[in-house]
Symmetry: C2
Subunit: 300 residues, 2 copies
């Protein structure tokens, strides 16, 4: 009798602007991982390099399906990405042709949200809002266990306008987008402004000493109980909580999962945020952080 | 041989603050309808009157299941409603006990959204955002053909804050909620303010003649090309389009369906709104309007 070995492992790929990350996931665990630099020159180049790596990985750890998270928007199967050469690229078709396996593609932020809900801090939940507070505010929403994707472009949570009049100009062209107030970058900008206005504060000295601020340096000032930094942080949390309350009204999710720079502070970040929110809103820090993308892609 | 007649009809009930509407729906058509005043005195009273009416209807048109749309929030099967006596009422359990049939309950705005998508202007779509521009801004979101309900309180689209700083105070306690800017009531308020500041305008005269303004009188001024009314309308549409664009970013739905007072103006309302929006956003006026609730309830 021939043994029919069923392959339960899947390959998750997270295509970023700098690196492409690969992970074979079996029974909810990463059993193999690798990384290649993103080819930013040509569609043919990046596709070929990704597929070559897939084939190498298959020799080490066979997998039955492939899921790929990609920056940008997929409409009708065609992927376009601002900072990679994809332009109306039929990504799934091209990869299936090269790999001879079933391939599924999804926006990277949505993949990360799905990964976090299926394998990370949201495992117990079917309805979750994931917010990544980084350079911008990325996000993804899971309703009944599935990504909200609409026609392909859903989940742009950072581009919800919360200050229509006199709002800060966003790169997207609108004014007052959440990410101009609640991203880690926005916090650093707010802190830098305050440091320059208060040069004799602890925050001001830290900024002067280091030439500029970043998230880590900002929290140094917080740990030293700098009142200027505390006032900046309080205001920042007000903005973030306005965004969270909006999503609460829209989705009433079982959990909010927050990822990205500022969340690395753990309870120093979470506790004062929770104090701004209604006790009925359940907020946690994401567990998988930068692995969420490959997990989500593998589970597509 | 005994004939086993399969009952395909369902009863939809739309419980409002003033009336309770009933409709038996079979094959997507209303085959029987009735209405009773809402008993605002006691839970026992309103439940008994609703169930008595259900039984009377069953004698005329048998139905196999019951769906009920109720104002307020249902958490863990318990309904609480501000302007009706329900308070932690196990609505489904109570009705099933009295009727001996399967009963399903859902928030009324979500029911209306579902009805509009399944039987009205959204029939061709699986992903839709429904906005009712009335006294407030009500709404409901359909993702993959199902209501987004979260833990039971989702779809409060009118309480998305779009003006966090210097926003108008909302009845919910927050500042800058969409419904303070984009409801039909908000339009009338904005028009009344402008009429009082411009007493010699057409809008000003209409307001003075009638003692006060309403939506219909406001559009009379628009039809007479009153520049003051046109400026108010333009500003109103700016606010509304900010809300629509936010939901576009979050849901990227196939269609937006707008209902309520101001939408009765048809193309006079829709065309200038579309001019404010990206051509990729598909906006339509809802078809079922006040029947959406019973249709949605029947389809639960």
């Amino acid at each position: 009798m021939v043994e029919n070995k069923i392959i339960t492992a899947t390959l998750g790929i997270d295509v970023g602007g700098t690196d492409v990350k690969f992970a074979v996931i079996d029974n909810g665990e990463i059993v193999c991982r690798s990384k290649i630099p993103s080819n930013r020159e040509s569609v043919e180049g990046i596709l070929q390099e990704i597929c070559d790596e897939c084939k190498k990985i298959a020799e080490l750890h066979p997998y039955g399906k492939v899921g790929v998270g990609v920056p940008g928007v997929i409409y009708d199967g065609l992927l376009s990405t601002d900072n990679l050469p994809f332009k109306d690229t039929p990504i799934v078709e091209e990869m299936e042709k090269r790999l001879g396996l079933q391939v599924t593609a999804e926006n990277d932020a949505n993949c990360a949200a799905l990964g976090e809900v299926r394998y990370g801090g949201g495992k117990a939940y079917k309805n979750a809002v994931v917010l990544t507070l980084g350079t911008g505010v990325g996000g993804g929403v899971i309703v009944n266990g599935e990504i909200v994707r609409g026609r392909g472009g859903a989940g742009e949570l950072g581009h919800m306008v919360i200050q229509a009049e006199n709002g800060l100009l966003c790169a997207c062209g609108r004014k007052g987008c959440l990410e101009q107030y609640a991203s880690t970058r926005a916090l650093v900008r707010q802190a830098t402004e305050a440091a320059k206005e208060n040069t004799d504060s602890i925050l001001g000295s830290i900024c002067k000493e280091n030439g500029e601020l970043n998230g880590k340096l900002f929290f140094e000032a917080i740990h030293k109980n700098c009142p200027v930094a505390e006032a900046v942080f309080d205001r920042y949390l007000d903005w973030l909580s306005i965004g969270i309350k909006n999503f609460q009204m829209i989705f009433d999710p079982e959990v909010f999962l927050l990822a990205g720079g500022v969340t690395k502070e753990g309870d120093n970040f979470l506790k004062p945020l929770l104090a701004k929110l209604d006790g009925k809103i359940n907020v946690k820090i994401a567990e998988l952080q930068s692995d969420a993308g490959v997990f989500g892609a593998a589970s597509l």
